[in-house]
Symmetry: C2
Subunit: 191 residues, 2 copies
Amino acid sequence: MLDAGLHLLADQNLASLGVREVTREAGLSPAAFYRHFPDLAALGVALVEESLASLHVMIRSVLAEAGGAEEVIDRAVDVIEQHVREHRSHVRFLSRERHGGVRQVREAIDAELGRFATEVGAALALQPVSRGWSERDLRMLAELYVDRMVSTASAFLEAQESGPARERGIADAARFQLRLISLGRRHWQGS
Amino acid sequence: MLDAGLHLLADQNLASLGVREVTREAGLSPAAFYRHFPDLAALGVALVEESLASLHVMIRSVLAEAGGAEEVIDRAVDVIEQHVREHRSHVRFLSRERHGGVRQVREAIDAELGRFATEVGAALALQPVSRGWSERDLRMLAELYVDRMVSTASAFLEAQESGPARERGIADAARFQLRLISLGRRHWQGS
DNA sequence: CCATTCAGTAAACAGTCGTTTGCCGAACTT
DNA sequence: AAGTTCGGCAAACGACTGTTTACTGAATGG
């Protein structure tokens, strides 16, 4: 049922999805839906969890790898690109419903992204560059990184349909922007 | 009719909007809709134009004002906050449909944001800090700024419903992140 | 002053929708 | 072996949907 929903949401909105539509796609009877979810919103938050699980392991794999800023950035962009390629529907779902019309889903995504930011912040705190940074500033930096990650993923989503040239353009821009941020970070002195 | 649609879209998705729904809200008969739009998608792109008109004047007002980086940033964040306050529905519509389920609307928004980036890029090129920057790099920087502007606006949208404390938090984060970027920009040397 | 466009209407069309109900077989539990 | 939960079904309910058609009055223009 989750797969059916995800498939339908390829070119549709969660709010415009119908119970019958989902069950039809899944090859079940309409009543079967209510055996598993009370709402379509509930199916939405289930999809959020499913989608962010894979994203989570991706983030960890980037954070685990230590190394110079340049290498980390290159690797991060590569990992994002590959992740989008392998989980198109999940990424599309997240990017579409992050500001979508179903509050419960929006909130679930936001909460999970917040947890990501916490994780990124913890990793940043361990790096020597962060000496003297307040916790608040680290948090805001982490949010900036997470936000860029999401934006980049959305951009890849569209780019991968427009040929590899545009795809390389996105990767270049992402690397440039991340380098700029990390450069600013190194020259930052207190707020 | 546009106003009716915008009002409905406060807690709904363009893709899940109905013709009858709109006309009912507008106090007209269903058939009247087709006198003005062939599609709901057409109403969508009309709303895009309406929404981005006001955004456009906002951007210009920020770009026009010269001054130190700090002052420009502070003023930009203030202008964004005020704009969101005065045009809640428009901003919500844009943020929701930017990655929404209706392709024509998505493309209209993207095209317009691209034009914004061009405008921002032109303004950045005039500043002395940009000596030696390639056009490509300037473009990517401009896109980073536009993207942050949109993200910040979305954040304000949610924050203004959660009280002024959260609102100040968003403003602080936005200023911090913009300062970090402009710092990176000053220390950038070629790509 | 006549013709035409404009913006609106009511009515009808055939579908689709969400949800509830009662029923059923299979699989577990005890 | 008996009982209970689980996941599934068909059928039915009324309500709502997008779109077309034929018609109407007012404004506009020559």
